[in-house]
Structure formats: structure tokens, C-alpha cells
């Protein structure tokens, strides 16, 4: 959980929100919240923050360098948070309830949990000692690494070395602290965590080493980017158990005498190299899990028959249609985008029904099924504000029913066909009913803050609604509510089974309504249980080694369930008869607390008891200008034409980083330059939708290399306004941009480095419209399907004459049956309304476009002005049509070629062919060219944080009446 760039981007895009931020300040805190909607919660957030900060101050001897910004918002349907320390300490947190699926998150008061988790990040990343303080003084702050100026990477490490640590390290300590701060509710007692490692050992697989974790990690795994969390949690837990919790603090604290690099500090504290300790952990984990497996096997384990050997990755609730013998479910596995599927339970074959946009990591989507109309209801944008959608089981009639409905946990009422679900809004959970035709929801019951219901199930007669109730304290119960009473506005509820601290999960009615079948980690292992409603008896139905989920009763004596494996969930058939006995397993967290009871003293306690009332200033509208401060400055090196220009860069911003000013001043002492060309200045100011830029003799770090040059002589001032019309995360956007740029004293055209300007002043202005909708599957390294449409209209004004130009672009990609392989079609057309003899009235094509050292996209050959095989700007035309066909081959993922300091992740090849025709309406100037080529990209990581992509490309270009020409490219991209 790093800086919440996605949250800031959303806030940036949805204006005029910037006028509605409110601010409350205390001595330690700058609390920002959006509008008055969250005002009910801010006092509680503040108290919890102050309470947590005091604990971290005492325990870590941590002293923040000023007020910390905390942004509270409601732009997600489930709880999420992020923390960043560069250049300012900031925490962002959603207010929505947690997602308890598969018991992957703690069931405890959400704000207390998130504050303690995120503050652990801040402390870990921000705490400084020794030379960190010195460099923070020299650079006047904490330097933010930015790929546009990679010199900043080194400064960033000097000012914030611990912030450059890998994700597993940062998440490991945060989860360790969250567990004890919440009194044991954290993920060291998580059933899913135990299951993941127990399963890996049961399947005789070695744990990922540190290199493999950083190199591949979640790329090939259905658990995606949660993998670093699991591994970090476990490694820290093991260290805490073996060496004591205080040793972890000694490792993580950056106090006087500690080492800047976390690996060096590990050696200092634990007395052995981290990789050796990692191997020790692997051996220990194997023994620990084998002990647990042995306990499980003391009783007969459940027999099962897999329906298919193919893992389906993450899984939604599933529905069985007894008439077709098909199972309908949402799936998400590496290689294919998440989708709804129908599975023939006889053959195990999957038939795709519809893609799921924005799947959630573990449970894909909220799914409901109406057998009467054979319609599936599901949610899209599951990590944002969920849309309600429907589709027929034949894949037809796919419809968005309610945009941003924010409803999930869907069930269909068997009598009237209404949907019931749980809606999350501004931190509250509301039981809602959505009658046909499913265009509006009606409030049935809003639970008090902190209480939420989930995993709904409707009885076959439609009279009872089963659900799991989560209370503010984290207590969770399986309960049944009277549907008719609910419709009358009464909450008649009966708690039918209390699984103590484990989450009852996906309990559904048997077809006769006599039982509820579901799963729970009650014994520490996710087993299936059935509850007999009449007698009130709950019995175990399975004794499994790994985990069993989402049971569906499918016929006399048979259950269909999903068994957890290391590659995902697999559907299996098993008996519905109860088992006699299940032994419990041991949690790592329990071992820690028994051996080191001191962790019991780490609890946060009540925020009201300890923190007292923070002294708050009154609430006021957030004024960014008052919050706009200097962040840092550092020496840098720029390139201008063929000279090197040393200089300085400095940066200012507000707390939310939505207003930023970046400025660089440099000077070229050498080279054949006129005196007025030696001084260089450039600035960029970002203010919400606005971007204002200026430069004098524009310079760029990457012009130190070649062959592409962006530095230009002369004065430039310009600006643009970008507004989103559609901001549909995670991958559908429509925006427009207006821009205007003024140049004076040019020698070359701004866009074309090899074309003389032939004029002194130019005004360029225009607009762009850009719609894109791309998708990617788990384990992908780039977008794999989708489309993009761009239109731009602009004009250049030179000597008071206007030279308009239009371009239009359409990109379309589709997946091949080969995992992570796609075909892309890109077509661009353009026309300039100016006389051909004027250089600015043409388009110029040529080259791969990569610099030897670069920071822009490595696949520059996709850009419409690029034509590998010819030199940059070699082919000119007044109007053009460019068509490209690209085959993006599957990446070769490497489980760590190198060392943790520097390793190769993957290799990605691609092949392309481009046809270009310029001036096709004028036979005197018409030119038709074709190229074929390929590129290979080698993606590496350094210090677990910085990405470098090495690319090599070859292309051959053909033109009638001219000999073929070749082009090649090598480049290193810094990210």
C-alpha cells in the first residue's frame, strides 16, 4: 500500500470537487475530507490517528517532521488505504466496510485497523537517522524519484533509504503491527494466510525465494499483487517467533547507528544474511505446516472427485442449474481476463459468457442467478463503485442495469424475482431490494456504523434471508432474517450460529430449505459445515488439508465445492454427510503470542480513552495555496543539443499533490553555442485539470544520449486543460484536452528535431479527444485486449496564417488462445491544411523513436509518427494513412535471473508490420512504404524498486523504386 495515486487521479479527474475539500488541523494532523459527507467520521479518524501515532512514537522512537496529511474519502465500495512518505507524509483511506471474502482481511473496527497499518508504513519509510538527516538538509526535503530525471533515484535513496525497500518488507511489518494493535485480529491469525502456505507445503512446492518473489511474485499467480503481503507477513511472523518481536523493531527502526539499507540492517540485527534467514524460514515453515497437516490427518480426510484439473483461479459464488447440469460462476486466472463462465459439471469444460470489468482479486464479482429467466446478475468495477449488470447465460443481452449502484452480495428472490443485496455508501452498509426491471434500488435496512451484512442467501420459499453479520468489534455471526418483516420495516433477526472469531462464509440454503451449507475457518482450516435450521445443529461436512469453499448441494448425497490449491480453486464433488471429528491447526500468530506474551501490550486500546480530545482547529474549506510548500531541491544534469548542462531542480506541492510545481535551471558551459543559448529553464505547474508549462532553451536529461532530441532553442510557454468525461476505473476513460503553445526563436520544429523551422514565432493550439478501454489478465505485463479512439484537431499559426491539421487514430486488440498473447491493429490518418513547401504543414515519419536511454514507452514503434527502417523524420507528407499489425507474443517470465539487487523479470518479444502511404491523393508526391520488424524487451528490476527495460529492435523498410533500408534500435528505459 504505497501512495494512492489512483485515489489522487480520481480526485483530480472529477471536478469541481477541488472546491469541496474540508480541512481540520491539529498539532500532528492535517485531516482532509471530501465535502460534508464524511464529517460524521472525522473526529473518530482523528482520535484513532492520534492514538496510533502516540503508540508508534513511543515504540519506535519516531518523530515526524511535521503534520501528517490524512485524506478520508468514499470512492471505493470496500475499505482500502495507502501511505506515502515522499515528499510528504500522507495517508489516504476509504471509509467503506471491509471485504471479508475468504477471511483475507481482519474483522475489526476498520478505522483503527487501517490507521495502525498505514502508520506502520509511514514510520517505516519516513524515519531517518544519520546521513538521512544530512541529505534531507542538503536537499531541503525528501527527494521524490521521477523517471524524467533519474538522477533523482540516487537522491531518493539518500534521503529515504527505507522507502526504497520492497513491498513484502513494508507490508510484512505493517501486518505484524496491525495484528497486535488490533488485539489479534490481524492477518497473522488469518485463515487464508495459513491455508496458502499449508497448501504449498502439502503440494511439495518450495516457497518463493526473495528473488523469485520480487521477480515474478504476483505476475503468474492468481492471488496477484497480494503475494508480497502473504510472504512479508509470514517472514516477519517467523522472525518474530524465533527472535522475538523486539528484534523486528530493531530491524525496522531507523534510529541512530542503524544501517540505511534494510538488508544491511537485517544482518546487523539478526547476525546472518537475509537470504540465509529466508531459507531458514522455508525449512521452518515446512515443519510447521507438516505438523498442522499431521493434526488434520489424525482424522480421516474427505474424499473428493475433481470435476476438472484446470484451476479457475479466483472464484465468485457459483450457481448450479439442475436442468442443464451447468454451473455458473465468475473466474479469474492468469492468461485470460476475468469473466463469467458456464461449467459443464460432467466434463468440466468452461464456456465463456461475458467479461467482468474490474474484477476483485479473490472473488471476482458478486453473482446472482435467476433460473426462471436464465439471467445472471453481476457486478463490474468491483474495486471502485460497483455497477450492476445482467447477461443471459447464453452470453446475450449484456446490459448495465444501474451504473454506480454500489450494491453487491446479490441474491434473487425466488418468488418475485427481485434482487436483494448490500449497498455500501459513505461508510454505511444498507440492505436493499431491487425490483424488476432492476433500475432502482430501495432501502430496506441500514445498519449502524460498523455493522455490515454480507454473503446473502435467500431460502427457496423466499421467506428467509440468511447472511453473515459483522459487528464493529469484529464479531461475526450467521443469521437469518424474516423477509416479510424486513419489507415492513422491521428487523427480525435470529443468530443461528456463531463461529467465534472465524468468518462464516457463503452459507446457502439447500433446495429443501432445511439446511444451510457454507464454510468456516473455525478449526483453522476452511471446512464445509452444514446448519440444520430446525434443530439448530451445526456439523462439519469435510475434513480437508487445504480448504473447501462455496458448497452447493446438487443432488442426493452430493455437494459441489471448490477446493483450494496453490494454482487456484478447483471444483470438486463430495459427499454431503457430516464427518465425526476435525482437529484444529495452529496459527503462527498464536505461537507468537504464547512464546512472546509481550505483544499483548502492543494493543492500541480505545482511541477515546488514551488520546483524549485532540485540540482541533475548526473545520474550514481546504485552500491549496495555503498548503503549497517547498518540498526539495537537488543538483542535476541536463542535455541540450550535444552539450551537458549542470543545474538544479526544485519541487513544490500541496498535501494532496494535486498542485505541483517542478522547475529546472541549468547552464551549458561547453559546446558551440551562442551565449543566449547557454542558459536553460523549464517549469511545469499542475493544478487539477490544468497544466502550465514554460521553457527557455528547453533541455532534457535524455538528450545526453541519443538519437532522439527534444531540447529546443527559444522560448516556449503553453498550457493545457484536460477533463475526464468518463473515468471508469480500472480501464475505461474518455477525456478531452485543449491546448495552446507559443514558441519564439525556434530553429527546429517542436515535434520534428531534423526539420528547420524557417520562422521565428509560432502559436499552436487545438483539442484532443481520447477514448480507451483496455483489459488485461492476471499475470500480464501489458494490456492484452481492448480499443482506443483518438481524434485531434489543431492549428499552427505562423506569420498570422493558420495551418490546421486533423488526425484520427483507432487501435484494436484481441487476445489469442495463447495466454498473454494478443494481436493489435492500429490505424491512423491525418491531414494538414497547408502548402507542402512549408515545413510545419507536413507530417514527418521515421525511426523507432527510442533514445539509447529513455523514460518513455519502450514500444515507440506503435506511435503514428514512427516508421522503423527509415531515419527519424525521413518521410514527409501533407496527409497520410498508416496501418500497423502487431503480434504481441507471450512474455517469458523468469523466476529470478540475477540477485535481489538486480534481476531480470521477463522477456517480451513482438513482431510488427506497418504500411504507410503519404500524399495518396496527389500522384506527384504519393509514397507508399512498408516495413516489417520486431522488438524484444528485457524487463529488469534494481533494488526491488527501480525498473529498467532493455530493448532491441530491428526493422526493414521497403519502398517501390528504392532499395530497402534497415533500422535498428537499442535502448534502456528507466521507470
Amino acid at each position: 500500500m504505497r501512495i494512492a495515486k489512483w485515489a489522487l487521479l480520481f480526485l483530480f479527474c472529477v471536478t469541481p470537487l477541488q472546491a469541496q475539500f474540508y480541512l481540520r488541523e491539529s498539532d500532528n494532523l492535517r485531516l482532509l475530507y471530501f465535502g460534508q459527507a464524511q464529517s460524521y467520521l472525522v473526529d473518530h479518524v482523528a482520535r484513532t490517528f492520534e492514538n496510533a501515532l502516540k503508540l508508534y512514537r513511543d515504540q519506535f522512537q519516531y518523530e515526524p517532521d511535521g503534520k501528517m496529511s490524512v485524506l478520508v474519502y468514499d470512492i471505493k465500495d470496500y475499505l482500502n488505504g495507502a501511505a506515502g512518505s515522499i515528499p510528504k507524509n500522507n495517508i489516504t483511506t476509504a471509509v467503506a466496510p471491509q471485504r471479508f471474502v475468504f477471511e483475507t482481511l481482519p474483522a475489526t473496527e476498520r478505522i483503527n485497523y487501517i490507521m495502525n497499518h498505514e502508520l506502520a508504513h509511514i514510520v517505516t519509510m519516513d524515519q531517518a537517522a544519520g546521513r538521512d538527516h544530512l541529505f534531507r538538509k542538503i536537499f531541503m526535503g525528501k527527494v521524490m524519484p521521477t523517471e524524467s530525471n533519474p538522477i533523482s533515484f540516487g537522491y531518493a535513496f539518500l534521503t529515504s533509504p527505507r522507502a526504497m525497500a520492497p513491498g513484502w518488507y513494508l507490508e510484512g511489518i505493517a501486518v505484524f503491527m496491525e495484528t497486535w494493535r488490533t488485539g489479534g485480529s490481524g492477518r497473522l491469525f488469518g485463515g487464508y494466510d495459513e491455508m496458502m502456505f499449508r497448501t504449498r507445503i502439502a503440494e511439495n512446492k518450495a516457497l518463493l525465494d526473495r528473488l523469485g518473489l520480487d521477480a515474478v511474485g504476483g505476475k503468474t499467480d492468481f492471488r496477484g499483487m497480494a503475494i508480497p503481503y502473504f510472504y512479508g507477513t509470514r517472514f516477519f511472523g517467523y522472525l518474530g517467533l524465533k527472535y522475538g518481536p523486539e528484534s523486528l523493531l530493531q530491524w525496522v527502526k531507523r534510529t541512530s547507528g542503524s544501517k540505511a539499507y534494510f538488508v544491511s540492517q537485517f544482518q546487523k540485527v539478526f547476525g546472518l544474511p537475509i537470504d540465509a534467514a529466508w531459507k531458514d524460514w522455508g525449512r521452518w515453515e515446512k515443519e510447521f505446516q507438516q505438523d498442522n497437516l499431521k493434526k488434520i490427518r489424525e482424522n480421516p480426510t474427505t474424499d473428493f472427485r475433481p470435476i476438472t484439473s484446470q484451476s479457475i483461479g479466483g472464484l465468485s459464488r457459483a450457481y448450479f442449474d439442475s436442468s442443464t447440469r451447468e454451473l455458473y460462476l465468475g473466474v479469474n486466472y492468469p492468461g485470460q481476463v476475468a469473466h463469467l463462465a458456464a461449467m459443464d459439471i460432467a466434463s468440466g469444460q468452461l464456456r465463456k459468457i461475458a467479461d467482468v470489468k474490474g474484477p476483485s482479486l479473490h472473488n471476482v464479482t458478486s453473482l446472482a442467478y435467476d433460473p426462471g429467466t436464465r439471467t445472471l446478475f453481476y457486478t463490474a468495477d468491483n474495486n471502485d463503485w460497483r455497477d450492476l449488470r445482467s447477461v443471459g447465460v447464453d452470453g446475450k443481452k449484456s446490459t448495465t442495469l444501474i451504473k454506480d449502484a454500489r450494491v453487491g452480495d446479490l441474491v434473487v428472490h425466488p418468488v418475485d424475482g427481485a434482487l436483494w443485496g448490500v449497498r455500501h455508501d459513505n461508510g454505511f452498509a444498507t440492505l436493499v431490494r431491487i425490483p424488476r426491471p432492476y433500475r432502482h434500488w430501495n432501502q430496506i435496512l441500514t445498519w449502524p456504523y460498523g455493522t455490515s451484512g454480507f454473503d446473502l442467501s435467500m431460502s427457496p420459499d423466499g421467506k428467509s434471508l440468511a447472511l453473515v453479520l459483522n459487528r464493529l468489534s469484529g464479531q461475526q455471526s450467521l443469521a437469518v432474517m424474516d423477509v416479510e418483516a424486513l419489507r415492513q420495516g422491521q428487523e427480525k433477526i435470529k443468530v443461528i450460529s456463531d463461529f467465534d472469531d472465524s468468518t462464516p462464509s457463503a452459507f446457502t440454503f439447500s433446495p429443501d430449505g432445511a439446511y444451510l451449507y457454507g464454510s468456516s475457518y473455525y478449526s483453522g482450516v476452511a471446512n464445509i459445515y452444514r446448519h440444520h435450521l430446525a434443530s439448530g445443529k451445526t456439523e462439519p461436512v469435510t475434513n480437508t488439508e487445504t480448504g473447501m469453499f462455496c458448497p452447493i448441494w446438487i443432488g442426493a448425497g452430493s455437494l459441489l465445492a471448490f477446493r483450494y490449491t496453490d494454482t487456484g480453486l478447483i471444483p470438486v464433488l463430495l459427499s454431503d454427510q457430516p464427518v465425526d471429528k476435525i482437529n484444529s491447526i495452529r496459527f503462527l500468530g498464536q505461537s507468537i503470542v504464547e512464546r512472546h506474551p509481550s505483544v499483548k501490550e502492543w494493543g492500541s486500546g480505545s482511541p477515546t480513552a488514551k488520546a483524549g480530545e485532540p485540540a482541533f482547529l475548526h473545520a474550514s474549506r481546504y485552500r491549496w495555496i495555503k498548503d503549497f510548500k517547498f518540498d526539495y531541491g537537488y543538483p542535476t544534469l541536463e542535455g541540450y543539443k550535444n552539450t551537458a548542462a549542470p543545474g538544479i531542480n526544485f519541487h513544490l506541492s500541496d498535501s494532496l499533490m494535486l498542485n505541483r510545481l517542478d522547475t529546472t535551471l541549468s547552464y551549458s558551459p561547453a559546446g558551440q553555442l551562442l551565449s543566449r543559448e547557454r542558459i536553460h529553464w523549464k517549469s511545469e505547474f499542475n493544478h487539477w485539470e490544468w497544466k502550465l508549462k514554460g521553457a527557455y532553451n528547453y533541455s532534457d536529461f535524455y538528450d545526453l544520449f541519443g538519437p532522439r532530441k527534444t531540447s529546443r532553442k527559444g522560448l516556449y510557454v503553453g498550457g493545457e486543460y484536460q477533463k475526464y468525461l468518463i473515468f471508469d476505473e480500472p480501464n475505461r476513460y474518455l477525456d478531452y484536452t485543449f491546448y495552446a503553445d507559443y514558441y519564439r526563436g525556434l530553429d527546429k520544429l517542436p515535434e520534428y528535431q531534423n526539420i528547420d523551422a524557417g520562422f521565428d514565432k509560432m502559436l499552436s493550439f487545438g483539442a484532443r479527444l481520447d477514448y480507451r478501454f483496455f483489459r488485461r489478465s492476471l499475470g500480464s505485463v501489458e494490456d492484452e485486449k481492448g480499443y482506443r479512439v483518438r481524434l485531434s484537431f489543431g492549428s499552427q499559426m505562423v506569420d498570422r496564417n493558420l495551418y490546421p491539421r486533423l488526425t484520427a487514430h483507432l487501435d484494436y486488440g484481441f487476445q489469442l488462445p495463447i495466454p498473454h498473447s494478443s494481436v493489435w491493429i492500429r490505424n491512423s490518418v491525418g491531414k494538414s491544411y497547408g502548402k507542402r513547401q512549408y515545413p510545419f504543414a507536413n507530417f514527418y515519419f521515421g525511426g523507432f523513436g527510442n533514445n539509447w536511454v529513455d523514460h518513455l514507452d519502450e514500444k515507440r514503434y506503435r506511435d503514428y509518427l514512427r516508421f522503423p527502417g527509415r531515419e527519424i523524420d525521413d518521410v514527409a507528407g501533407n496527409h497520410f494513412d498508416r496501418f500497423q499489425l502487431e503480434w504481441s507474443l507471450p512474455p517469458i517470465l523468469l523466476h529470478g535471473a540475477g540477485s535481489p539487487l538486480f534481476f531480470l523479470n521477463w522477456i517480451k518479444p513482438s513482431l510488427f508490420a506497418t504500411a504507410l502511404c503519404v500524399d495518396f491523393t496527389d500522384s506527384a508526391f504519393r509514397r507508399s512504404l512498408l516495413n516489417t520488424g520486431g522488438q524484444v524487451d528485457f524487463h529488469t528490476m534494481a533494488v526491488s524498486h527501480y525498473q529498467f527495460t532493455f530493448s532491441a529492435g530491428l526493422a526493414r523498410a521497403y519502398e517501390k523504386g528504392a532499395p530497402p533500408t534497415n533500422g535498428w534500435m537499442v535502448s534502456m528505459r528507466i521507470q
Binding site: 459527507a37 460524521y40 472525522v42 473526529d43 473518530h44 475489526t108 483503527n112 488490533t182 488485539g183 489479534g184 485480529s185 491469525f189 455508501d425 459513505n426 461508510g427 454505511f428 444498507t430 432502482h440 434500488w441 432501502q443 441500514t446 449502524p448 456504523y449 464493529l472 468489534s473 428487523e491 433477526i493 435470529k494 443468530v495 450460529s497 456463531d498 467465534d500 472469531d501 472465524s502 473455525y522 478449526s523 471446512n527 459445515y529 446448519h531 439448530g536 445443529k537 451445526t538 456439523e539 462439519p540 465425526d580 476435525i582 482437529n583 484444529s584 491447526i585 495452529r586 496459527f587 500468530g589 498464536q590 499483548k600 494493543g603 492500541s604 486500546g605 480505545s606 482511541p607 477515546t608
Partner: protein, 291 residues
């Protein structure tokens, strides 16, 4: 004690209904807790020490937030005109008026709000048309008119069952023969009002006469729901409330009444549903909720 004066007070009460803070109130759940038994399963040990309980989480006006989860409330809040009313300076000024808040907190007022007849009358298009009538608005601003409203004798007449019976009589031709009417005429309070110079001034007011002649106004007068409200003792108690009278005289309040957006909101069925919401009424009653 003309019908117009009664209606004036009625319209004013309705205007007080526009507020920005809502809450939702549900009856408490009836919960039967019976945990099931689970034999044969050894429970995994997990250390637990609850750190934060319900009493540790202190929120500001959570009932308001709960009401905001109501679908009708959300629809009303999305109404552009409603939002404009909320941000109207006159409206904001009225809402912060202590007299206004006192009226809101008045149990009688809340009872009137909850009255189904009141809600029905409120939804009457004729009533809404009268509200929009410029003459009516001018009448509201008339100090003499306000003085009449505040007159205890006038209020006593309003409460007179015979008077109410007269009002309910659709046949104006027989009013003079109506024994109830004759009883009213003989009523000393009624006579006192008739002699009141302010009342006479109102009678002579051209705007008042215009309102009297307004067909929509007459339609409202004839509305049985409206008549039922008039007879409501709570309503009468509100009319007699000095704070209420002070609000009526407030220029900002009058400005709000004249606001076309406000009138549009009053006509909105969703908004009317919100008014009928018990939770909303509960929030109105909460003195701690500052609008």
C-alpha cells in the same frame, strides 16, 4: 378570521418543512440470539483482545448519515432545484434562525408534519399554485396580516369547531343560514377580530382579495384534508407559537417562499415522500442537528 388567514398559516407551516438534514429512524431490531452447537470440531486457538468497541467510536449525528442512505432522500438530494434551495442565502438564514429551530423542535409541529392529511394537502397542486402566487406572497409580508395571525382571538376562532364546520360547508349560499356560522358570528372572539383594525386593513388589501378570488386557493379551502389539518389541535398550537409567528415575519423566509426553485421542490413527489419519512421527522426534532 377568514379562510385566507388560516391558509396563510398553513402555507407557512409547509414552508418550514424544507430542511437540509435528514435522518432515518427504524424501530429497534428484535433479535433472538441462539448460537448453534458444533460438536466434533476442535476450535483453533486465536488470541483475541478487543481494542475498540461501539462505545469507543464517537460519531457526529450518525442518524443523519443513516437517513442519507434512503433512496428517496438520495433522489431528492440529486434534484438540482432542491440543491439550489439549500444553498439559497435566504433559506440558510431561515434555517439558522433560533425561532425557526424552536418551531422545528416543537412536538406539535412534528405531529402536524406526520399527519397524513397534512401530507396529502401539501401535495395538492392547487396549494402549490397558491404558494407561487405573487399576491399571496405579498400578503405574507404584510405586517397587518401577521399581526392578525398573532392575535389570540383569531387563534381561538380558528379552534372553534363551529368555525371549522362553516369552512367545511361547500355551499356558500347557505352559510348565512348555517347554525354553526351563526354561532361563530356570535362568538366574542370573532367579533373582536372583526373589530381589529389590522384585520380590517387586511380585508381591504387588494392582494388579499386577489388571493381570495384565486380558484386554486378556493380549491384548497375545499380540500377535506386541509380542513382536517385546520381542526388539528397541534396545528392550532403551532399557529399560536410566538416563534412561529416570528418566522412568518422574517423577510428571508418570505424570500424563500417566493423562490421558484423552492416551489418546484415542494411539488416534487420524492420530496414529499421524504417529508413523510419518520426518520426525517425525527431528525427535525433533534435540537443538536444544526442545519
Amino acid at each position: 378570521m377568514s379562510r385566507k388567514q388560516i391558509y396563510f398559516a398553513f402555507f407557512t407551516v409547509l414552508a418550514l418543512l424544507v430542511v437540509g438534514c435528514l435522518a432515518y429512524f427504524f424501530p429497534g431490531p428484535t433479535e433472538e440470539g441462539t448460537a448453534g452447537t458444533m460438536g466434533g470440531v476442535q476450535r483453533a486457538e486465536r488470541y483475541r483482545s478487543t481494542q475498540v468497541t461501539d462505545k469507543d467510536v464517537l460519531l457526529q449525528n450518525p442518524e443523519v448519515q443513516t437517513l442519507l442512505q434512503n433512496d428517496q432522500v438520495q433522489t431528492a438530494l440529486k434534484n438540482k432545484e432542491f440543491r439550489q434551495v439549500l444553498s439559497n442565502p435566504g433559506f440558510v438564514s431561515v434555517c439558522s434562525n433560533p425561532n425557526f429551530q424552536s418551531v422545528l423542535a416543537n412536538p406539535n409541529f412534528q405531529s402536524v408534519l406526520a399527519n397524513p392529511n397534512f401530507q396529502s394537502a401539501f401535495a395538492n397542486p392547487g396549494f402549490q399554485s397558491v404558494l407561487a402566487n405573487p399576491q399571496f406572497q405579498s400578503l405574507l409580508a404584510n405586517p397587518n396580516f401577521q399581526s392578525v395571525l398573532a392575535n389570540p382571538n383569531f387563534q381561538s376562532v380558528l379552534a372553534n369547531p363551529n368555525f371549522q364546520s362553516v369552512l367545511a360547508n361547500p355551499n356558500n349560499n347557505s352559510v348565512s343560514a348555517n347554525p354553526n356560522f351563526q354561532s361563530v358570528l356570535a362568538n366574542p372572539n370573532f367579533q373582536s377580530v372583526l373589530a381589529n383594525p389590522n384585520f380590517q386593513s387586511v380585508l381591504a388589501n387588494p392582494g388579499f382579495q386577489s388571493v381570495l378570488a384565486n380558484p386554486n386557493f378556493q380549491s384548497v379551502l375545499a380540500n377535506p384534508n386541509f380542513q382536517s389539518v385546520l381542526a388539528n389541535p397541534n396545528f392550532q398550537s403551532v399557529l399560536a407559537n410566538p416563534n412561529f409567528q416570528s418566522v412568518l415575519a422574517n423577510p428571508n423566509f418570505q424570500s424563500v417562499l417566493a423562490n421558484p426553485n423552492f416551489q418546484s421542490v415542494l411539488a416534487n413527489p420524492n420530496f414529499q415522500s421524504v417529508l413523510a419519512n419518520p426518520g426525517f421527522q425525527s431528525v427535525l426534532a433533534n435540537p443538536n442537528i444544526v442545519i
